[in-house]
């Protein structure tokens, strides 16, 4: 009735979680890549501190994408509840209309 595609919303939430997982994996691989570099000195220390901070920021973003996936699932459930209520109300309306039409027909026949 409203065009709500609950499955599609679920897919989008899943994609957000997959992106979050990919970011965590990327953070780990970048940190490992930096760790494998033969580089010693003050510049190297600054470099590793920088990479550590940025990898941490990537993990934080992954957490935010998980939060977004949760928010999307809550939103999908709420939208589905609204749609169900609307469909129930529409069904009730159709039943009432059908009943009214039946009563009106019977009255007309009796007259």
């Amino acid at each position: 009735m409203s065009g709500l595609d609950f499955d599609r919303l679920g897919q989008l939430a899943l994609r957000l979680e997959q992106d979050a997982g990919a970011l965590r994996a990327r953070a780990a691989s970048l940190r490992d890549a930096a760790g494998a570099v033969v580089w010693r000195g003050r510049g190297a220390d600054a470099f590793r501190a920088c990479v550590g901070g940025q990898a941490g920021a990537l993990r934080t973003t992954a957490g935010r994408l998980d939060d977004a996936a949760d928010a999307l699932r809550r939103h999908a459930r709420a939208a589905r509840r609204v749609e169900e209520v609307a469909e129930a109300a529409a069904a009730l309306g159709r039943s009432v209309a059908h009943g009214v039409r039946a009563v009106a027909g019977a009255v007309a026949d009796a007259l």
Binding site: S2, G3, L4, D5, R8, L9, L12, R15, L16, D19, A22, L23, R26, S29, L30, A33, A34, A36, V37, V38, W39, R40, G41, R42, G43, A44, A46, F47, C50, V51, Q54, A57, L58, T60, T61, R64, L65, D67, A68, A71, L72, R74, H75, A76, A78, A79, V82, E83, A86
Partner: protein, 426 residues
């Protein structure tokens, strides 16, 4: 850099240095690939917000839709969000490549001066000090700040085989907005009422505009003075501070943000420049009034670009530019504009364009020596360039004296009034 297969080990310095160029090149490529992937991922997640299923669900549950959208946008565009991180990993990749290039350059210098250094070290303490000149162990401090002259070599590697035309195209492709200019009143402070007398006074005025305020704040100063024929004439000094915001997002309202650096360094017009011009217009600067632009760092680049463009279309008569710590080598300077460029030899930023300033009679580059040991302080207007300007005022170098003499009409005013503006990007 791919074919470089040597490593260098250096003794001495604070802790010694060891770096393998090919390792640095590989990790730089890894980071650059990650930056591209993160940018692509961010773009794809932005597009998700236009998915028809989300739009349909928003009709049924607008509150939940708003909460989801806000959460996702915080992850993408908020502080340290995915878009920011894509740029940050890209910058880290470039910095690592630059470090490799700096080491390579230092190593080559070391190869050339090594035997001489060994001889100098035989001469005792004085010889040892001389032998540390351009020692590679100074190159990586703060990644690249220890020996700023090596950054020029690094940038050549960073920019690969791009021609100036390609650089210009890439810079011009970086999105920019349009300026909104708001008048923020007159500066009635005591210092603002003293006409400048020296180069240091000019930078002090710029520092006053820079210090407590936000990105996009500029000053227009009107200086009244008498010409040689005794007639009173008004001249204009415009203060243009540098970067206060490193957000790479083109939607960042602060016009001094990262994108302005990308565009300005190659001579492209920017929202910041357009905003300064609009403020000059708003302040009532006339076509025939001599204008001096004073800019620090990014502000210096914007100043030279503005001088060039205003000269080209004739809107303002920009006769002089004073820059401090600005990479202006790639920006063509009209012959009718006199540029006095101050560069601190311990400051990395003037080397970010990978070239020396133009060697012309109307472009005077003065190198000051203000190494505080802190890369940020070495670039600071207040901590390095203001004291450096006092050195400039004190020197008797004929080229410098000639350049300062050209500024004299702006430094012999009898009264000054200052109006302030705030520029934003929309």
């Amino acid at each position: 850099m791919g074919e470089v297969r040597r490593s260098v080990s250096v003794t001495g310095g604070v802790a010694g240095v060891e770096a393998r160029y090919d390792d640095l090149a590989i990790v730089s490529r890894t980071f650059a690939t990650a930056a591209g992937d993160l940018a692509e991922r961010s773009w794809r997640l932005h597009r998700m917000l236009a998915d028809p299923a989300l739009l349909a669900a928003a009709v049924l549950d607008p509150t939940g839709s708003a909460a989801f959208t806000a959460t996702l946008l915080a992850a993408l565009d908020g502080r340290h969000g995915l878009t920011w991180q894509a740029a940050a990993w890209g910058l880290t990749a470039g910095t690592v490549r630059g470090a490799a290039a700096a080491y390579l350059a230092a190593d080559r210098i070391d190869d050339q001066v090594g035997p001489a250094r060994a001889g100098l070290q035989q001469l005792g303490p004085a010889g040892h000090v001389v032998s540390q000149w351009r020692h590679p162990s100074r190159a990586p401090a703060g990644v690249l700040s220890g020996d700023p002259e090596l950054v020029d070599a690094a940038v050549v590697v960073l920019t690969g085989f791009w021609s100036d035309r390609q650089l210009l195209d890439r810079a011009a492709a970086y999105p920019d907005g349009r300026p909104i200019v708001v008048a923020t009143g007159a500066d009635r402070g005591v210092e603002a009422r003293h006409p400048p007398r020296t180069v240091a006074d000019l930078l002090a005025g710029l520092a006053r505009c820079n210090a407590p305020r936000q990105g996009g704040d500029i000053d227009v100063r009107f200086v009244l003075g008498r010409d040689a024929d005794g007639r009173v004439r008004r001249r204009v000094i415009v203060d243009i501070p540098g970067t206060k915001n490193w957000n790479p997002s083109p939607a960042e309202p602060d016009p001094t943000s990262f994108g302005t650096n990308v565009r300005a360094i190659t001579g492209s017009t920017t929202t910041y420049e357009a905003g300064v011009r609009a403020a000059m217009r708003r302040a009532g600067v006339r076509r025939n009034e001599p204008v001096l632009l004073v800019g620090h760092s990014q502000g210096g680049m914007v100043a030279v670009n503005l001088a060039r463009h205003a000269r080209s279309d004739g809107e303002f008569q920009v006769s002089d530019v004073v820059t401090a710590g600005a990479p202006i080598a790639r920006i063509p300077v009209p012959r009718s504009v006199q540029v006095l460029a101050l560069e601190n030899d311990a400051d990395v930023v003037p080397h970010c364009d990978g070239a020396d300033n133009q060697d012309r009679t109307n472009v005077t580059t003065v190198t000051v020596h203000r190494d505080t040991g802190d890369p940020l302080a070495n670039h600071s207007l207040e901590q390095s360039y203001l004291p450096g300007a006092r050195d400039v005022d004190a020197t008797d170098d004929p080229s410098v004296r000639g350049a300062v003499a050209g500024l004299r009409p702006f430094l012999e005013g009898t009264a000054v009034s200052t109006v302030t503006y705030h520029v934003e990007r929309r």
